[in-house]
Every structure is written in C-alpha cells, then in structure tokens.
C-alpha cells in the first residue's frame, strides 16, 4: 500500500481503520506562495488519510496552514501563482492532475465546502434560494421547478423555518446561524462524499454553534459523508472528530485519533494548546499556562524544528535548533519531535498531565 517507509508511517493513525480504503489520501502536499518578500510555505509536506464516513479535525493557530490545505483539496489554488505539489487522491484519482473540466464536475458533487463567514461566501445580490438552485442545477439536469422543490426540501432539512417563504430572501435577511444553515444546505444539496467545513462555527454564538454542530453530525449520519472540520477550537474537535491533525507552521506536527490527541498527546505544541486554554470542566486553576512567544512567520520559518523558539523542552543536544524533525518511528502515531519517545512520555506523565 505504500510508496516509501515514511508515507507508510504517515498514513497510519488518521485513517482509523486499515481495512477500508481511504476516501481521501493527501500525500506530501505542498502549497507555496511566491511573494516579493520570499516564498510563503503555507503547507509543507502534509500527509493524511480520511476514511469514508469519518471526521477529521484539523487544529492549529492562525497561519498554521489549515485553511490553505482545504483550499488545495477544493482546487482553489488553480490559476493562481501558488505552487502546489504532492498528491491529493480522492477515491484513487489525483485531484491535482485532473483537468479543470473534471475538477469542476467533482467540486460540489464529490467535495463540498462550508466556509467560515457565510455573509461573504453567499452572494449578496441573489436570493438564497436561487443560489442553491444554481448549485443543484450545475450537477443535475433538472427543471427549475424540480430544483426549487429540492432546495426547499434541503432548507427544511437543515432546520430553516418556513423554507417556502425563506427561499426568496436575500442573505442579509438571514441571521448568522440561518446563513450558516443555508451554506450547509448548499454544500449538501448534491450529496457530496466529502464536506470540508472551514471554521464553520467560529462566527457564531455557543448556543447556535451547538445547533450547527448537532446538525452536521446528524446529516453526516444520514448521508454517510466524510467531514474535514478545520478549527482553532479544541472543544469543537473534541465533540466532532474521530481523528485529529495538529498543524504548526505549515506542517502536521502530530496526528492521531481523538483519544490519543486529548489523553496522551506527545508533541510539545499539542501540550501547549491543551494547557493554555481555560477549561470549564476542570477545577479552576490560578494561572493559565500560555505558550511563550508568537506564531512563526511562514516566510522565515525557524531552522530545525519550527516550534523550537516556543518549546520549553528544546535543546541543542537533541538538534532541535538545526534538524527538522521527521515523524518519530518509535511512537505509535505520527509525531514530529526530536525528544526521544520514552522521555516524551515521561515529560507528559510527570509534568504536563498534572497541569492539564
């Protein structure tokens, strides 16, 4: 199944079950943007698998490459100056090499996207209903009346009250939660096999967020789609994801199933993320433990491990300042860290877990 030892190792963990062929396999994905100031390595050497019906959560801070990854899968970097390399295998077909025509056919039909800000993702000049009709008729040769019926059915399905009346409304007449529902309806209208949700609830209030996450889970069960959910909120991934990919500086630094990432994470950045947030489900701590410093610039990534300037365990002896860490072969899930495996487990058990 593998091309090399590293990809074989890289493929483990995120696919969940080994016997089902992955719906989506991303291999050594690179997205670089040449700019006047230098090359922005937004995504660098990223690999993961996603099984049919599974949910993958991608977490990381702003500028870690989460959204660029999703845009690459959707083929949204075509025709721009971005340099995209590697492979994105969807059902065995490389989305990076197929023709524009073929990609257009698959976009929406096979892979659909829910954007973060539905107010700017929906066209302000067309009614919500017409935008959904258009999305449906691109892929289905049906009459406007038939499409309209389907759209109203979808609007109803995502919980928009009186969908008949709402069909003719413009996006600005919807509330934030309703707009996000309309976006989800648009993403689902062609019954895609993969939904990419890029910060789908970041702009929403918690009560509405709970509604939307509930809706996504319910629809996933009903339609059997796979979901990639991109977020900076660890609470959202904990509720949604089967597998989790932690990104930092354009690279995946750790990948594993939700239990692994939340209960036995091995990368110091994952520890930092878990430690730095205030938690409602624990006794209140006197002080939060922030990650020192700021996220790195993607033009000028630190040498060696890009996390080393912010990592309290980085040392010169380990080579953290000079050697870019590969995935650690000793760990049972992919972790990019030079600290020896046993020592890492030790640090986690003795100094990180007690402060979580």
């Amino acid at each position: 199944m593998s091309t090399s030892a590293t990809t074989d190792h890289a493929a483990r963990g995120a696919s969940g079950s080994g016997d089902v062929p992955a719906l989506l396999s991303v291999r050594e994905l690179r997205v670089h943007f040449p700019t006047e100031d230098g090359v922005v390595k937004a995504v660098d050497d990223l690999s993961f698998d996603l099984a049919p019906g599974a949910t993958l959560g991608i977490v990381g801070e702003s500028g870690s490459g989460k959204s660029v990854t999703s845009q690459a899968i959707m083929g949204l970097h075509r025709g721009t100056r971005a340099k995209v390399g590697g492979q994105i295998l969807f059902d065995g077909v490389d989305l990076l090499t197929i023709s524009d025509e073929e990609l257009r056919r698959r976009r929406g039909q096979d892979v659909a996207m829910v954007f973060q800000d539905p107010l700017s993702a929906l066209h302000p000049y067309y009614t919500v209903g017409n935008q959904l009709v258009e999305a449906y008729r691109v892929h289905h040769d049906v009459s406007k009346q038939a499409a309209r019926a389907r759209v109203i059915e979808m609007l109803d399905r995502v919980g928009i009250p009186s969908p008949q009346a709402r069909f003719g409304n413009y996006p600005h007449e919807f509330s934030g939660g309703m707009r996000q529902r309309a976006m989800i309806a648009m993403a689902l209208i062609n019954d895609p096999r993969l939904i990419i949700a890029d910060e789908p609830t970041t702009a929403l209030d918690v009560t509405v967020q709970a509604q939307i996450l509930d809706l996504l889970v319910g629809l996933q069960k009903e339609f059997g789609s796979s979901i990639i959910i991109i977020t900076h909120d660890l609470g959202v991934v904990a509720e949604m994801a089967d597998d989790i990919l932690v990104m930092y500086g354009g690279k995946a630094v750790e990948r594993g199933d939700a239990d692994t990432i939340f209960y036995s994470p091995e990368h110091p950045y994952a520890w930092g993320l878990l430690r730095s947030m205030p938690r409602m489900d624990r006794l209140r701590t006197e002080r939060l433990v922030p990650i020192a410093g700021n996220p790195p610039s993607l033009i000028n990534l630190p040498t060696g491990c890009s996390f080393h300037p912010r990592c309290e365990y980085a040392t010169a002896e380990l080579g953290c300042f000079t050697t870019a860490p590969p995935f650690d072969a000793e760990s049972d899930h992919p972790v990019r860290c030079l600290i020896p495996h046993t020592e890492r487990l030790d640090i986690f058990e003795n100094s990180v877990r007690p402060s979580l």
Partner: protein, 399 residues
C-alpha cells in the same frame, strides 16, 4: 508600585473621594437603559420603536473584583459596558460611582472621572490609530488630561510598555508592526496609563489565538493585582469568563438573567438560559463531551426592537416549552420577572428558577474551596505579590 501598600495608604481618587475597602461597592448600576432611537423610512421620517439594547439592568461592582458579563451577540453586553463608561449616553437609570450619581455628569467633571475609568477594546486592529506611533498612543492620556509625569511622558510610557511585556525601544513603531496579541498589550498599556480604578474590558481576548489569549489573560490578572484594579470583563467565551471572574452576570436581550459568584453560577445555574448556555460550550475532552447532554435552544435571538412580552426568554425557554402548565406559562408571557435574590449573592430573573438537570453538569470534582466569596483579592496580598513576580514566559524580564 507594589501591591502591598494598598491597605496601608488610604487610597483616594482624582476627585479626592476616598476609595472603598476591597470587596465594598465601588460602582452601582441601577435600572440602566440604553435605547437607540429609530426613524421610519419614507418621505416623512417619524420616530419608530427604539432598539432596546440595554433595557433595565441592575448590578453592583465591588472594589478589586472582576465582574464577568456573558451573553450571545446582540444581548447588549458591549452596550452595557460602554454605557457604564458613558461612551454612550444612557437613556434611563442611574450609575453611582463611590456613592455619587455620575449619570448626567458632563464636560470637565466627566473628564476627571475618565482618569479613573478606562476601557480595553475588542478589536486590536480598530482600536489603535494606525497613523500614530505606539508612544503617542500610550502617551495620549497624559496629554489629554494635562498630566506631566515627574520623569516625563516618554519615560513613563516606556515603563508602561515594559510592564505589559513589550520592548520599550518600540516606542517609535506603528501599530501595524505588531501582532494581534502585542496590539492588545498596547491597548492595555494605554488603559492603565493614568492608574484608573476601574477598567471595562470588552472582549479583550476574543480576537486572539488560544496560546496568545492565555498570555493576555495572565497579563490582565497581573496588572489587576499590581494596580488594584476592578474589572468588568465582557466576553462570550464562558471558559475564559470562568477563569478570570469573581462574579458573573448573564445577559439576554438587554436584560440581566442571572448574577452569582463564579463557582455558584457554573455549578448551580438556576436560570434556564444560563443552563442552556453552559451546556452548549463544547468541552475539550471527547469522553466527557460524549457523555454530556445538551440543552438545545431552538431558533434565534428575537429582535431587541420588538422583544417578547413578559419574560424575554420565554420564546426559546426549554422549561417553558416542556415543563410548565398553561397557567404558569401565562405568567411567563404576561409578567416581566424581576431580578430577585434566591440565595446570598445569587440573583435570578425567572419566575420558575430551578436546579439544572444533572446531565449537563461537567464538573465531576467538588468545586468547593476554590473560591471564598468573603475573601476578595485585597485579602490575598501575599500570593498576589509572588504572582506578579512572573513566571510568565511572555514577560520580557524572563529572557
């Protein structure tokens, strides 16, 4: 500037009034209203029903504490904060500061009061003038108030920058040269420049990444201890509010639904809205998240132009829908619930408050001993001093 002298010297304010002891009322807001007028569209515009952004809220603020205000967007929490500082003119109710009614104060009197009450804004991009240097921004309060520090404005500003964890040499830089977290530090330096007593922080960390958010929260706590500040902390993130607040007020559609000490509110919420809000927060723990039940609210926030009759929450209230009898419901739809005290330091605006269903509670551990409501910050000086001695990695002295 040490935290130990706060009880020794009788603190006075710029207006000469004596500050209350820690834990005593510094600010009292009674039935505060902010209605924004509207006009009908058309050839002859006429006054129309106003937007009732804040519609009669009552709370008090005790010196040295942090009062968290939470609620969904559009509930009026930011308007409440701004109205308290009179950045917006209240349309009703009173604000008492140190026992004195300051509701209608204008002009020079108000300018003097401004030195004691400051604000930290949400958007670290919009709240700093892009054409001014950091030195000019942080030094502006001195210029506006005509205050001449002994060592000069520049030295004072550089001290402030160092205090909030910025390099004093960045005095001449512009806001765009800083990251979001650093900009928020600039906003904090500006707010503490004149040594205020009260700071209203409106979503100060919501625009920041989690790792940076923790740095800024720690900084806010440090300077609170160092400068004996009282905070109003407005946020929608219930986890952050729990971390930083001593007491928490929950707002919905311009009204206060529940106010309680932090641990009481999170462990024993009595208002159905508070319960729904708490149950909606996603937990960063997959096993607990799977076990926990959610109270899902249906629909959206009603319009503050035309709020529901009686209890404004009844249209979305799960208790109203499922548990109450028709005669009980009539009370919810007909009578506005008043804020009433159901336990010491715990007020609820609900006709039928009750303990939360057990499935939504997430704290397995006993929350006792974490907070003693009688001992506000002023009492715990020793710990306070060591805490400011900074093991914070963001502290510039640590390098």
């Amino acid at each position: 500037m040490s935290a130990t002298d706060q009880t020794a010297t009788p603190a006075t304010t710029a207006t000469g009034a004596e500050l209350p002891k820690f834990g005593e009322t510094i600010l009292k807001v009674t039935d505060l209203q902010k209605h924004f007028p509207r006009r009908t569209k058309g050839i002859i515009p006429r006054p129309d029903a106003p937007v009732k952004a804040v519609d009669g809220i009552t709370f008090e603020l005790r010196r040295g504490e942090t009062l968290g205000i939470v609620g969904e967007s559009g509930c009026g929490k930011s308007t409440a904060g701004r109205t308290v500082l009179q950045l917006l003119k209240p349309t009703g109710g009173t604000i008492e500061y140190l026992g004195e009614d300051i509701t209608g104060v204008t002009g020079g009197d108000w300018r003097r009061l401004r030195t004691e009450m400051q604000m930290v804004f949400q958007d670290p991009y919009g709240s700093l003038n892009p054409r001014q240097t950091v030195g000019a921004i942080v030094g502006a309060p001195f210029v506006i108030q005509g205050i001449k520090p002994k060592r000069g404005v520049k030295a004072e500003v550089q001290d402030l920058l160092a205090r909030v964890g910025l390099n004093p040499e960045h005095y001449n830089r512009y806001p765009h040269e800083f990251s979001g977290g650093q900009r928020q530090r600039i906003g904090i330096a500006r707010a503490i420049a004149l040594r205020p007593n009260l700071i209203v922080a409106d979503e100060p960390v919501s625009a920041l990444d989690v790792s940076i958010q923790a740095q800024v929260v720690n900084l806010l706590e440090d300077i609170q201890n160092e400068f004996n500040l009282t905070y109003v902390f407005i946020a929608h993130d219930l986890s952050v509010v729990r971390h930083i607040s001593d007491r928490v007020a929950v707002m919905y559609l311009g009204k206060v639904m529940e106010v309680a000490d932090r641990d009481e509110l999170y462990a024993n919420p009595q208002h159905p809205y508070t319960q729904a809000l708490l149950s909606a927060v996603p937990l960063p723990d997959p096993r607990k998240a799977n076990k926990r039940e959610r109270i899902l609210l249906t629909g959206d926030l009603p319009s503050p132009i035309n709020p529901p009759s009686g209890c404004v929450f009844h249209t979305r209230c799960p208790k109203f829908r499922t548990e109450l009898s028709d005669s009980d419901k009539a009370r919810c739809t007909g009578e506005v619930p008043q804020q009433r005290e159901i336990a010491p330091n715990h007020t609820v605006s609900c006709h039928y408050p009750g303990p939360p269903p057990a499935e939504i509670l997430v704290l397995e551990d006993d929350p006792e001993a974490a907070y003693d409501p009688t001992a506000l910050r002023g009492a715990g000086d020793e710990e306070v001093v060591t805490a400011t001695g900074s093991d914070d990695p963001a502290d510039p002295t640590r390098a």
